[in-house]
Every structure is written in structure tokens, then in C-alpha cells.
């Protein structure tokens, strides 16, 4: 049940009607819980048991941490083992087996690793992180006391964020479950606005780019260099609009139930450094990794070298979190190195380039370097193999014999139009805000008409959100 499907529209209307029809907090929570489980069961009811496992482990562990604070560290360790253990089984078993086989080959053994048929439960990485986040927050005393099973379950399974985030912190979400939800007209307008924006990003931009990009990434070695560069730029746009579209809709839908979730993207393609990029891209994941991985690893507390190591390890594991493939490891590792390089650069060239007239010259160069890196790093993220990645990279620098078919592709400039429009014109502090009359009925009329005009533009051959697979 995708957010942009007819099934979901009816599901949402039904859930909203039931939810707001009852005044009691407990019943509303129960309605949301049942709806969320139904939403997940729609994908594959068999994995409800896994969802139950993650919830029960988190609930019991938090109780245990609270009951035996002296053993808190061990209990958190055991929780990590249990939660990451199931993630490893479902997501990484074949990857580990294949890696073991490759290593055996390197050592001269003829051992062939078996390939097991294991279905990847949708959204498993996201709800596993929620499960971990809750226990760690109780351990860190960010939450006053362990909560009831229904609250914990709702935090983990809340359907707008269940399958592709954003990864909301327990201390942000849970307090909202405990106070009476209200939906005032401002919330309603904000929610409708977010849903419309998300729909444009996902169903118009991302889904329009998807087939073009998919076709080329499927067999890149049969295409010419121009096409490969177009596909890479296309994916640069697609992944952004796909994910920002989903996140924005998720935040908008949550708002309809009275929950305020933090924003997950802040115009990341405006970034002029890789550090800034990670402050703007998938904010809920980057801050999660910072707080639950980078800082526990030592963060920047144990000297520069260890800080670089921690940064690199965090990004490497962050890459692996996205998928069980060396391509994701390469992507994460490249970002880890780039973050380290940027820190080094800042240390060696302090502020000189960021002040005075030099900054006007430096800013476009920094932007080009940053976005060029991000674009190139997306290639292994999307490509099926190292060989394909290499073909793309070689195409960029012209070090590839121009062979293959030349299909009709959209010009590269066209692929970047939505990004340019969105990044340059929306919420740009340098531009004056459009002087809309602040009349709610007018705002609603604009939103209505825009929504009705967007619908004919959507791509109906609905594609899954890219982040569902993670």
C-alpha cells in the first residue's frame, strides 16, 4: 500500500475518520496501532511476527534497564545483539556467506557459499533502529520511565514512518502519544501542503525519472557515455525526489493525526560542503548515526585521528545499513573519506575562504566540488556491480570507448530542472516570500486546485519508494 495509491487513500480516510471520531486517548492509540499493523500486513502479514519481536524486545529491555540500572549497559548490549541479530539474519546472511565464499576463493579454497532464500522484510532497517533508539533513550534517561506496551508498539509501528522513515527519536515521538492529539486548522493546512509537495516530488518527478534511469542502470555497458552521464544525473535527481517526496508525505500524514515529526531533508543539494550535505540529507538517519554510533564510538573526544576513524566507520556502517552489498560499503566509505577530507581542509584553511570577497569565488567552486562528489558517489549506490560503477565513472571523464546504443534520452539540463526550481525558489532566504493573502480559505483553494492539477501529471505505473528496500 503505497502512499500514492488508491488503496492508501481509502485506508487513510477510514483511519482518520475513526481516529478523530473518538475522544479517548487510549482508544485513539489503539486505532492507530491496529491501522499500522494492518498497513504492514498489507505488504506481507508474515512479518508481523518480526514486528512483534522487535517491539517486545524493546519493551522488555527498557523495563529491564529501568529495573536494574546497574546492569543497564549490559542490557543495552544484549538488546543490540538481539535487534541487530535479526537484522543480520534477514538482511545480511547472504552477503556474509558470499563474502566468506569470496575470501575462501582468495585463499585458494574451492568452497562455494550457499545462497539462501530469505525475504527481506519491508522497512526492517527502519523499525529496528526505532527499537534500538527506544531502549538507548530509556538507558540515557531521555525518557522518564519505561512505557506501556501499546505506546512502545505505536512508536515502532506508526504507519506513516514505518517502512521508510523518517527515523523519529523516541523522546520526540512518545511524549506526543501521551497528550491529547488535536488537529487545528493550521495543522490541517500544513499537512495538506506537505502531502501535495510530497506527491509532486515522488509521483511526478521521481517516478518520471525512474524508468529512464532504471533502463540505463540495468545494462549500462550497452549505452554511450552521454547516456550514462544522463542516467547518473537522473538518479541524482530521482533519489532525492523519491525520498524527499516520501518523507514529506509521511510528515504530512503524521500531522493529520496530530503528530509533528521533524523534517528529514533541508535542501541538501544546496550544500557547499559534504559536512553540510549530511546535515541536510536524511537528517533523521545522520543524526541517529551520530548519536547512537559515532558518539558511542568516541566521537571527537579522543583526538583527531580517532575522530577521523570514527567518522569513517560510522559512514561505512551507514552505507552497509542501506543494503547488503559492497557497493553500499563503497558509497559509505567514500562519504566517510570525504567527511574526513573536509574536516582536514577546514583545519588547514581556517575561514580564509569563507570570509571577505574570496567567499564569492569559493562558494560556487565548493558547491560544484560537493555536488560533483555526491553525484559520483550515487553511482555505486545505484549500480549493480563494481564493473557497472566503473563504466559510469569512466564515462564522466571520457575514459571509455563510446560504444553502445544511443536511445532517446532527456537532455541532462531537463533532468535538473525540478531540483533547480525547488532548491533555488523554495524557502530561499535570499528571495522575498510571495505575498499571499493570509486567508485560510484562499490557501485551501490554492492547495485544492494545485492537488487537482498535480494528479493528471502523476505517473500511474507506480514505483516503490527507493528507500523501502533498506
Amino acid at each position: 500500500m503505497l502512499f500514492n495509491s488508491a488503496e492508501f487513500v481509502l485506508f487513510l480516510l477510514l483511519t482518520l475518520s475513526l481516529y478523530w471520531a473518538v475522544p479517548w486517548l487510549l482508544v485513539r492509540r489503539a486505532i492507530l496501532l491496529v491501522a499500522s499493523l494492518a498497513f504492514y500486513a498489507w505488504w506481507d502479514y508474515r512479518f508481523l511476527a518480526l514486528l512483534g519481536y522487535v517491539t517486545v524486545v524493546a519493551y522488555v529491555a527498557a523495563r529491564a534497564v529501568h529495573a536494574w540500572p546497574a546492569h543497564g549497559r549490559r542490557i543495552v548490549g544484549l538488546t543490540l545483539l538481539l535487534q541487530l541479530g535479526q537484522l543480520a539474519v534477514f538482511k545480511y546472511t547472504n552477503f556474509f556467506l558470499a563474502s566468506f565464499g569470496d575470501l575462501a576463493h582468495l585463499l585458494g579454497s574451492q568452497l562455494t557459499a550457499p545462497k539462501l532464500t530469505i525475504l527481506l522484510p519491508i522497512g526492517v532497517s527502519f523499525y529496528t533502529f526505532h527499537g534500538i533508539s527506544y531502549v538507548v533513550d530509556v538507558y540515557r534517561k531521555k525518557l522518564p520511565e519505561p512505557l506501556g506496551l501499546s505506546v512502545v508498539a505505536l512508536y515502532i509501528v506508526f504507519f506513516p514512518q514505518l517502512v521508510a522513515g523518517p527515523i523519529v527519536r523516541a523522546d520526540v515521538f512518545i511524549p506526543q502519544t501521551e497528550r491529547p492529539a488535536r488537529l487545528d486548522s493550521r495543522d490541517l493546512i500544513a499537512a495538506l501542503k506537505l502531502i501535495t509537495l510530497g506527491l509532486i516530488c515522488k509521483s511526478v518527478f521521481a517516478d518520471r525519472l525512474g524508468p529512464l534511469v532504471d533502463a540505463i542502470f540495468k545494462a549500462p555497458r550497452t549505452f554511450d557515455n552521454h547516456t550514462l552521464v544522463s542516467a547518473a544525473v537522473g538518479f541524482y535527481a530521482q533519489i532525492y525526489f523519491d525520498f524527499v517526496g516520501y518523507s514529506t508525505m509521511a510528515i504530512g500524514i503524521s500531522r493529520l493525526f496530530g503528530f509533528k515529526l521533524p523534517r528529514n531533508f533541508d535542501f541538501p543539494y544546496r550544500s557547499t560542503s559534504i559536512t553540510e550535505f549530511w546535515r541536510r540529507w536524511h537528517i533523521s538517519l545522520s543524526t541517529w548515526l551520530r548519536d547512537y554510533l559515532y558518539i558511542p564510538l568516541g566521537g571527537n573526544r579522543a583526538g583527531t585521528l580517532k575522530q577521523y576513524r570514527n567518522l569513517f566507520l560510522t559512514m561505512l556502517l551507514g552505507g552497509l545499513w542501506h543494503g547488503a552489498s559492497y557497493n553500499f560499503v563503497l558509497w559509505g566509505g567514500a562519504h566517510g573519506l570525504a567527511l574526513g577530507a573536509h574536516k582536514l581542509f577546514r583545519a588547514k584553511f581556517p575561514a580564509a575562504l569563507r570570509s571577505g570577497p574570496a567567499r564569492y569565488a569559493w562558494a560556487p567552486v565548493a558547491w560544484l566540488l560537493t555536488q560533483g562528489f555526491v553525484l559520483l558517489a550515487w553511482v555505486p549506490f545505484r549500480a549493480a556491480s563494481f564493473a557497472d560503477t566503473s563504466a559510469f565513472w569512466h564515462a564522466f571523464v571520457g575514459k571509455r570507448v563510446d560504444v553502445g546504443l544511443t536511445p532517446q534520452v532527456l537532455p541532462i539540463a531537463l533532468l535538473t530542472i525540478p531540483i533547480l526550481v525547488e532548491h533555488l525558489l523554495l524557502q530561499n532566504p535570499r528571495l522575498p516570500a510571495f505575498p499571499w493573502p493570509r486567508r485560510p480559505l484562499l490557501v485551501l483553494a490554492v492547495l485544492d486546485l494545485a492537488f487537482a492539477l498535480v494528479l493528471p501529471l502523476v505517473e500511474l505505473s507506480v514505483q516503490n519508494f527507493i528507500y523501502f528496500q533498506f
Binding site: 493550521r186 493546512i189 516570500a433 490554492v446
Partner: protein, 372 residues
């Protein structure tokens, strides 16, 4: 050159909408003065109104849905624009008609009999009654109701067991296709649902059709993805009324002797019936749709190699009494009793269509309803 619905322009339109929606103030303090339920209701009503406006924009604009029936629709509009002939014959049907009735032959045969007629065939393969009705809606909209007062119009719906007994035939095969979405207008879907509630019909999808029909109607009503299915009228291929050349198919032809024997016997009384939905829903809608032209209804059936289809048409014709042409004619069936005239058990070849079309023209003339 890219037309105005093309990908580049629609991308610009989407970008413009993004900027407009993005710039709308979401935290207007004035908003709080209005109650949320009131605002929700206003939003819902305005959304339906906006969606209806967009729908009519597509439906009545200079664009056409580029789906399975579009080329037929364009041809029909072209053929029916200010016809000069005293008789206008509209032949409606599915694949039996598409393969078995050649409008040009019917016309020329009628001419040899002394009747000048414009013969237009609205036939589309695997198109149920509702899909064909939607196609005819498009035709009627573009004709602007011009009719010569001396003209006589005839509307000839095909009598075919499959499409009559399964009102949403082929819907299950065409789920989530542009053609299914295009004909599932809310009104058409509602009428289809009504038809499926009448006695004697078989529902598609093993009975689980309600949600699918509703979903298609929802997509249609909100014009979701409409840009992909609409194109400027001039871009649509122009169809025709002739039967496309076909060779005999590879199937075992068992002859028409059983059919010839069957027509020698009286019709089984159980078959002498008209399904209620055909009379109450299909025919009423067709009459209403074509009202500006005041057409007379003439039913007809196309031969196939199965006794069941022939018996169904015979029973239907007997039940409606007159103005119905069943291919229950020994001479015709004997002439068609040849494997080379059949593509498959249900469809005639081009040569077979020629034989039947000439026969049909004679039958129409024999009804003595045409104007000289």
C-alpha cells in the same frame, strides 16, 4: 515538435505547481479562527470541484484519450461530420463486428439496392458495452448534434452472448490499463455496478469486482495520470470501417452443420429472453446518448461457429420481436461453411466478412426502414 501535453512542458507545469504550493503560507494565524471540520469539508468539496473542472477540461478539450478505441472514435467523428446521405447507420460491436462487418461493403451493397447510406462501424476488439459506450460518448460530444431533418439514423447494437451476459467482460484482463481507466468514468462505473446487480449476468474477477471498479473510477474521476493517456486529436491515428486483411487461422474447423441443423428447429423457450440490464440500462443509455439524432434501434448478431451464440441471438431476436437480424439463415451459413472463411471459431476472415456484410445489407434493406 512537442505538443502542449508533452513531457517537457508537463515537467515545467509540475515545477511551477511545486513553487506555488511551496510558497503558500501554511501557518496563517487567521486559519485558527476556522473550525477544523468546517475547513476539512471545504477542502473536500473544493477538491471534488477542482477535480471535476480538470476532468471536464480533458473531456471537452481539444485532446483525446489515446487508448484502444481512440482511432475508432476519430474515424467515427470524421465520418459522421455532416453526412449528406439520407440514411446513417451506426454499427456498434466488439471483435465479432470488427472482423465480420465491413462498413464499406455494407454501404456499397445498400447502394446497389438503391439506398444511399452512411455506414459507420464503432467496433473495438475485446471492448465491453461500457467501453464502447464511453467511446460513443466521445463521438457524440464532438458531433455537436448536427442532423439533417430529412435523415434517418439507425443505431445497431451487436447481440453477443459474451458481452451481454458479462457486462464487464474483459475488465479483469485489462485491469490498470489506460483503456480500463478511460472507460471507468464514475457514471459508467456506477451503471456497470447496477448492471452487475441485475439477474442473469456473470460478474468478473470471481465476484471481487467492486473495489477494482471503484478504484478505476476514482483514478478516472481525479484524472490521475491523465496526461499520459490524452493527446492532441491530430496525433491520434485515424481508423476506418473496413475489415483488416486476415488469413484463416490455425484451428480445427468443425463445419457449420450443427448450426444449420439448429436453425431448422424452433428456438428453445429458455433462450427467448432479453437480459434486463440490456433493456433497462444499455438501451436506455444509448437512446439518451444519441437522442439528438433520434436513431432507431436495430439489433443484429454476427455469426460464429458455435451453436450457443447463434441460439442466443435467435432467442434475443425472438424476444424483442422484429428490428433484429439474427444470422439464422441457411443460405448464409452454408456459404460460410468453409474453413478458409474463419480466422478462429469466433471471427471471420476478410473474405468471410465480405459475405456476411453483403448479407447484412440485404437484411437491413429488407426491414424497409431505410429512406430512399
Amino acid at each position: 515538435m512537442e505538443h502542449f501535453l508533452g513531457p517537457t512542458r508537463s515537467l515545467f507545469l509540475a515545477a511551477l505547481l511545486l513553487v506555488i504550493v511551496g510558497s503558500v503560507p501554511a501557518t496563517s494565524s487567521a486559519a485558527s479562527k476556522l473550525k477544523t471540520p468546517v475547513l476539512t469539508l471545504v477542502y473536500a468539496l473544493a477538491l471534488f470541484s477542482s477535480a471535476a473542472l480538470v476532468w471536464f477540461g480533458f473531456d471537452r478539450g481539444a485532446v483525446m484519450a489515446d487508448t484502444f478505441t481512440s482511432s475508432v472514435e476519430r474515424y467515427a467523428v470524421d465520418a459522421l461530420s455532416a453526412p449528406k446521405e439520407p440514411n446513417v447507420i451506426l454499427i456498434d460491436g466488439g471483435s465479432y463486428v470488427l472482423n465480420g462487418v465491413d462498413a464499406n461493403i455494407v454501404k456499397s451493397e445498400l447502394a446497389t439496392l438503391g439506398y444511399s447510406a452512411k455506414v459507420v462501424r464503432f467496433a473495438a476488439g475485446a471492448a465491453n458495452h461500457f467501453e464502447r459506450y464511453r467511446m460513443q460518448q466521445g463521438i457524440v460530444q464532438r458531433l455537436h448534434g448536427e442532423k439533417d431533418s430529412n435523415q434517418r439514423w439507425f443505431y445497431m447494437p451487436e447481440v453477443q452472448a459474451g458481452y451481454d451476459q458479462i457486462p464487464l467482460a474483459q475488465f479483469d484482463n485489462n485491469l490498470d490499463t489506460w483503456r480500463a481507466i478511460q472507460y471507468c468514468t464514475p457514471e459508467n462505473a456506477w451503471q456497470a455496478a447496477r448492471a452487475l446487480g441485475t439477474p442473469g449476468v456473470t460478474p468478473p474477477l470471481g465476484g471481487a469486482w467492486r473495489w477494482q471498479l471503484f478504484r478505476h473510477a476514482l483514478i478516472n474521476a481525479f484524472s490521475a495520470g491523465a496526461l499520459k493517456r490524452y493527446a492532441p486529436e491530430a496525433d491520434i491515428e485515424l481508423g476506418g470501417g473496413a475489415v483488416s486483411p486476415h488469413r484463416p487461422g490455425k484451428f480445427r474447423f468443425r463445419g457449420l452443420s450443427k448450426l444449420i441443423t439448429a436453425i431448422g428447429k424452433p428456438t428453445d423457450p429458455a433462450n427467448v429472453a432479453v437480459l434486463p440490464w440490456l433493456r433497462d440500462i444499455r438501451d436506455r443509455r444509448s437512446k439518451r446518448l444519441w437522442r439528438p439524432y433520434r436513431p432507431e434501434l436495430l439489433y443484429f448478431g454476427v455469426p460464429s461457429t458455435t451453436v450457443d451464440q447463434l441460439e442466443y441471438v435467435r432467442g434475443f431476436c425472438q424476444a424483442v420481436g422484429g428490428k433484429c437480424i439474427a444470422p439464422a439463415d441457411e443460405a448464409l451459413l452454408s456459404e460460410l461453411d468453409n474453413a478458409k472463411l474463419w480466422r478462429d471459431p469466433s471471427h471471420l476472415t476478410t473474405v468471410g466478412a465480405g459475405i456476411y456484410s453483403r448479407w447484412l445489407a440485404h437484411q437491413i434493406a429488407a426491414l424497409r426502414v431505410l429512406r430512399k
